[in-house]
Structures are given as structure tokens and as C-alpha cells.
Amino acid sequence: MQSPKWLAIARNEYRVQTSWIRGLRRFFPLAAAALLAVWVYYLAPMMVRSMVNDFLGFVLSQVAVALFEIILFVLSVFLTIIPVSNALKEEGLGRVELMLKAPVRPGDVLIGEFLGKTPVYAIVATALAGLFTALLAPLGLSLLQTALIILLAFVTCLSSFWIGTVLAAVARTTIGRTAKGKDIGKAVSFILVLPLIALFYGLIGGNILTALADPSTNRLVSTVLGLFPSSWAAEVIVAFANNPSNIGAVWALTLTRIGGVVAFMVGGLAAGWMVADRAYSLEPSGLGATEVGPDGAFYRTVRLLGGGGSFGSLLVSVFKDYGRRLENLSQVGYIIGLMVLINFFFVDDAGGARMMGLLMGTVMALFLCSEATIRGRENLFIYRKTPSGVGRFMRAKLLQGWLTVLPFIAAVMLVSGLRFGVAFTWPYLTSVGNALLIAAANVSMAMGLSFANPAYSQKSASYMINFQLIAFLALGAMIIPDMVLHVEWLHMPLAWALGLVLLYLGYRKLSTME
């Protein structure tokens, strides 16, 4: 007798997911269950022991429901994003065609893909449930309450993953179809995480707790997030914490909220099944090729900055190749967003703003300028082939790196300066100038190293080595003069010396590369 198609697809997906432990695959469920048991009964309780009193104090406070709602909402969104983000990063259309040419219902594909990944999702859900039960155990919850919390964690996590799986399938066959769509997808997958980071920073920095202590804000948050199933689970958890071993006191809330969460999951499954036809379709989407217009003011300015001649044209081309990839723009947006959030939540004086300026130079150089060779070896040979091409290419990339990084550092530092009322004081402006010069040196380091040890993909070992080495060198150039030698002024010359040496090494490598 034939096994159902969704089971075959699920088994296949499970094999793919556990391919890295092929030899041990048969022991995986047992090993995972054993490790999770150790986590739930031993590790999680041990880990939370030190903070359990603070936590219990919080869980019985007035901000508990709203904060739990926020935490579970953020977690749900995060779990939904993971499959979408993964789907947009990989190129899976060939596999969709593989399924569509076989006599398989799209719903089977959807369910199969989801179930095949469920063991991994279940591990996340169990880990989460273990954390909650460990934190709430000292209150003396009944066995039924503990079981219901575990059930809620499972259903909430799996619902989010299911929605993520459906959205991922739709994204893969719509925007993932064309080069433009893939670019949009990669860009979006970067930026999507930013609001979540903002929430976490808000929680860590304490601003959210303070805000939630205000009854009107608390009510607003609960009203808005109360529409989402993650909040229903939060309400039950907090209700149990307030009524340990007394489920009868909150039976109506328990029944309606758990019923709601389960109904949402069942409804989600049914809706996903119904849209599966659309999700797994190779019918053409609306995204076509991008058509570009004549150069605008920005590119004309860049051309002028490059001297207007052939180097100006080269600089504009390098800029266009970088700037027309939404993925790059989103990466710039992500790093700047991250820096703005750190500034906002963790910096509370001008000294901190100065330090953040220096840190921004390192981080932006690291993330935005280590990709100079990422488009492949062939791109580099174009420059090798042209007269004086290597030097001109490196100058153009360096200028592009500076123009990408420095204006943003200046802007963020000046806004921070305005926040603390020092923006236009001479010492602060000097520190902005200092941060910009050091950032320029860091960009030179990152560019130089990426030419000296070219990496042709973000997954390559060279890329990872460069990434770590640049971080080590840039931070070393800051820490050693300031904290070890106590000669602060040495920071800039050291950073520039490293930058120039690496640029020279990069030039030699590109000039002799075969």
C-alpha cells in the first residue's frame, strides 16, 4: 500500500534537515528527546535559579500580561520570519518544479514540508516550554497547569512556523522567481528583523518596562496585541502564575484562550491548505526586468567627485552595481538602524555618543566593506584586463566605501550630539572628525584585506577569516593604544598604517592574481 504523498515529502524534508548527521539519523529522535529532558528537568531550572525571584516578582506585577504579550508576539513573529527568510535566501524553484510535474496536490507539498521540519520546530517549542515551566515551578503549579503551558508553547510555536511555511512557499514562487524579486526578498529578510531587535533592546534597556507601568500604555498594548493568539497564551500563563494549583479560579479564561489558540492553528492549517495551489504555482508573476533611466543628480555628483572623466564613469559604475542591489541597501539600512537603536536605548551622554561613533566606524566597515570581491573572480579579471585597471578599481571601491559609511556616521553622531546638547561644540565636532578619520582607516583596512584575501561568497572560509581579522585589527588598533599603552593619539596613526599596508597587499594580490 502506498504511503500518503505528504508523508513521503515529510520524510524527504526530514532527511534533508538531518543530512548533517546522516550516520546518526536513527538515533536523532531519541538523542533529541533525551537532551530536551535534561534541559527541561535539569538545565533550565538550574539556569533560572538565580533570577527566579525577580521573575516571580515581575510575573505577579501589573505589567506582566502586557510584557508577556509582547515577548510571545515578538517570538511568534520571529518564528514566522525564519522560514520566509530562509526561503528567500535559497533558490528553490527547481524543487517546486520537481513537485509540480509529479501527480502531487500542492496541499500535500505544504503539509509535507512543514511536517518534515516539525522535529526542528518542536525542539524550539520544547526549549521554550521548558524555560517557562522552570521559571513558574517555584509557584507550585499543578501538573495540569504545567501540561497546558507546554501545550500552549507548542501550539503557538507550531502555528507561527506553519504561517511562516505558507508565506515562504508563496514568497518563493512569487517574488523569488526573478532576479529582482530575489533581491527584494533578501533585502526584506534583513530589514524584517530590525523591529524585533528594537523590541528586545527596549526590554533590555528598561524603557519598555517603564512605559508599561503607565496604565494607559499598558491598556493600549494589551488591546492591540490581544488580537493575536500569542497574547491569549500569555494571558493563560500569567493567570496560572497568579492562581497556582487552582485552575478552577480561571477556568473560563483557560478554556476560551486555549480554545482560541487551538482554533487558530486548525483554521491556519485549513487556510494554508486552501491557498496551497497559489503558493506552489509557476505561473508568471508581475515582476519583470528593471529598466533604468538616465543618471540623476546623485550619480552626476558621484561622477563629479570622481573627476568627471573615465575614473568618474568607473566610480559611478561601481556605485550603481552596489546601490542597485536592494540587498546592499537593506544591509546599509540594517546596520544604521542597529546603530541608531543602540544609540537610542543604551547611550545616555556625549561620552557614550563619541564611543558609539568609533564603534559605528568599525561595525560599518566590517559589514559593508568586506564584500569588495563577493561578486566573483570574473569581476576582478575585468579590471585586470584594462590598463591600470586594478589601481583604478581599488580607488573607486575605496571611495565608494567612504561615501557609503562616513556620511551616516557623521549624521548619527550629530543627531546624538543634538540629543545631549553638544552637537555644535568644538570638542564634540573634533571627536566627530576623529571618528570619521578612523572610520575611513577602518574602511581601508576592510577593503584592503578583502582584496588581499579575496572571498567569492559570503559562505567561504576566506570571508569569515577576513571578517574576524578586520574586527580584531580595528578593535585592536583602538584598544591597545587606549587601554594597554595609554597613548590615545596612537589610535589613528595605527589604524591608518594598518589600512595602508592592507591596501598595498590587496593591490599586489589583485595585480598578480591568476
Binding site: 504523498k5 524527504n12 518544479e97 520537481l98 509540480l100 509529479a102 508581475g286
Partner: protein, 264 residues
């Protein structure tokens, strides 16, 4: 031996893309392919070859017209059509983290091959394609030629009478391409499969196909044996006939700039 029984038949088959359906990928295609023959669909890049294959495999739906494959309508008997066809896509999907054996086992399950038959068939196919030694190796470690062989084996896993091959040799080195051509010849001559092959590599089609069709901008501009098409177009080779039929002649005016540059 061609039996002349029509196994694939399209009637005014059309597929238009774009918001206003302005892109005619396939436009009023009337075509007959006979049982047991190797039929080649030739055309320049973007002519509509892959769209025809996808339509005939029920992967996408036509805008107009219809087609039957082994007597099954592509608009209503999709699963029956899929069961009688095997397909090698132009950019095929492969599960790189599965072994060759696991991949074929998965494909067999998708096509409902009974489990008692499947194991033996996988072994037979792996032996036939010279992959048996590597059956337990992950696909990611296979060469391009081995991957292509595995994909052809996957297309044959349910023993379909019709095989669609979309650009089967375009991404292969000469040795691997030669091997794949031999395989196709074997499948057509010995195993009696009907082969529907798309390509823009003329010598491959010329060597392997009993009849060919030439498609340009979605329309079928010629169909027949290689000799018939050459004769009908008034040319001497298939390449010349192809260029004449698809309007690919070089316009000498386009090269006039060279003379202008040469002038002092």
C-alpha cells in the same frame, strides 16, 4: 520504428504572459508527436520551448487552446498526464543533501511507484546510469554529468512512455554531453520511449531526433524531418534553415560603424 499513432497533440495551444497578456510565449501551437519517435523542438532563447514543455506537463495552464498527452487532456486530467510523462527540466531542482538512492526513492514515492517495485527499479536505474557505486553518496558531491544522469533516472523512475527533456546537454562538458546523447538514443531506439526534446544546440537535435519543429516567438514556423525542413527553406544546412526561419540574419548595416571608425 515509428507507429504514427499520435501520442501528443496540441490544438491552438497558447500561453500569454504579462498584465495585458502582451507577451505571447506560445501562440496558437498546433503540433502532433507520434508514439515512439524522438521529436525535437528547436528555437532561439526565449522562443517558448520551456513554456511548451511546462504546459504539456501540466505545470502551468494554457491561456487558450488545449492539448492531449497519451489521450489525456492537460486541462482536467492533470494527474493522468503527469503519470505518463517524465520530465528533465532546464534548471532542475535537486536535493543536494540526499544521496542518489534517497533522491530516487523520494521521486518514486511522488509518482506512486509501489514500494515492492521501487527498490529494485532504483537499483536497476543506478546500474544503468553507472551510479550504483555512488548510490549512498550525497548528490552535492556528484559531477554535472552524474547529476544530469541522476535527473534522467528520476524522470524514468515511474517508467513513463513519454519523456520530456528540456535542454538536456546545454550545461554539460563534451564528454558528459556525449554520454547523455547516447542515453537518449538508447531510450528512444531500444526502450521505445517517445522523446520530446527542446534545445537550441542544432547538432544534438539533428543527431537524435526523427522529426523537429522550429518555434520562434511562440509560433511554430516549421515542422518535419531535418531534410524536409532544409529543403522547404531553400537552404543547405539545418543551421542556415534555422537562421532563415527565425529571422536571425546579420544586418550588415549594424556593422557600418567599423568603416566610420576606420576613416581618418
Amino acid at each position: 520504428m515509428i507507429t504514427m499513432k499520435t501520442i501528443i497533440e496540441t490544438r491552438n495551444l497558447s500561453k500569454y504572459f504579462g498584465k495585458g497578456k502582451e507577451i505571447k510565449a506560445v501562440d496558437g501551437l498546433d503540433l502532433e508527436v507520434y508514439e515512439g519517435e524522438a521529436f525535437g523542438l528547436l528555437g532561439p532563447n526565449g522562443a517558448g520551448k520551456t513554456t511548451v514543455v511546462r504546459l504539456l506537463n501540466c505545470i502551468i495552464k494554457p491561456t487558450g487552446g488545449t492539448a492531449t498527452v497519451n489521450g489525456h487532456d492537460i486541462l482536467g486530467e492533470e494527474n493522468d498526464v503527469k503519470r505518463v510523462t517524465g520530465m528533465l527540466a532546464e534548471s532542475p531542482g535537486l536535493y543536494e543533501k540526499l544521496s542518489g538512492y534517497e533522491f530516487l526513492e523520494f521521486m518514486g514515492a511522488l509518482y506512486d511507484v509501489p514500494s515492492e517495485v521501487l527498490k529494485e527499479r532504483i537499483d536497476d536505474l543506478l546500474r544503468l546510469f553507472g551510479l550504483h557505486e555512488r548510490r549512498d553518496h550525497l548528490v552535492e558531491g556528484y559531477s554535472s554529468g552524474m547529476k544530469q544522469k541522476l535527473l534522467i533516472a528520476a524522470a524514468l523512475i515511474h517508467d513513463p512512455p513519454i519523456l520530456f527533456l528540456d535542454e538536456p546537454t546545454s550545461s554539460l562538458d563534451p564528454r558528459a554531453a556525449h554520454m547523455v546523447k547516447d542515453l537518449i538514443k538508447e531510450l528512444s531506439d531500444t526502450a521505445g520511449k517517445t522523446i520530446f526534446m527542446c534545445s537550441h544546440i542544432l547538432p544534438v537535435v539533428e543527431e537524435l531526433c526523427d522529426r523537429i519543429g522550429i518555434i520562434d516567438e511562440g509560433r511554430l514556423v516549421a515542422v518535419g524531418t531535418v531534410d524536409e525542413i532544409i529543403a522547404r527553406s531553400g537552404q543547405e544546412t539545418l543551421e542556415e534553415a534555422f537562421i532563415a526561419l527565425t529571422g536571425g540574419a546579420v544586418d550588415s548595416e549594424l556593422l557600418a560603424w567599423r568603416e566610420q571608425v576606420a576613416k581618418p
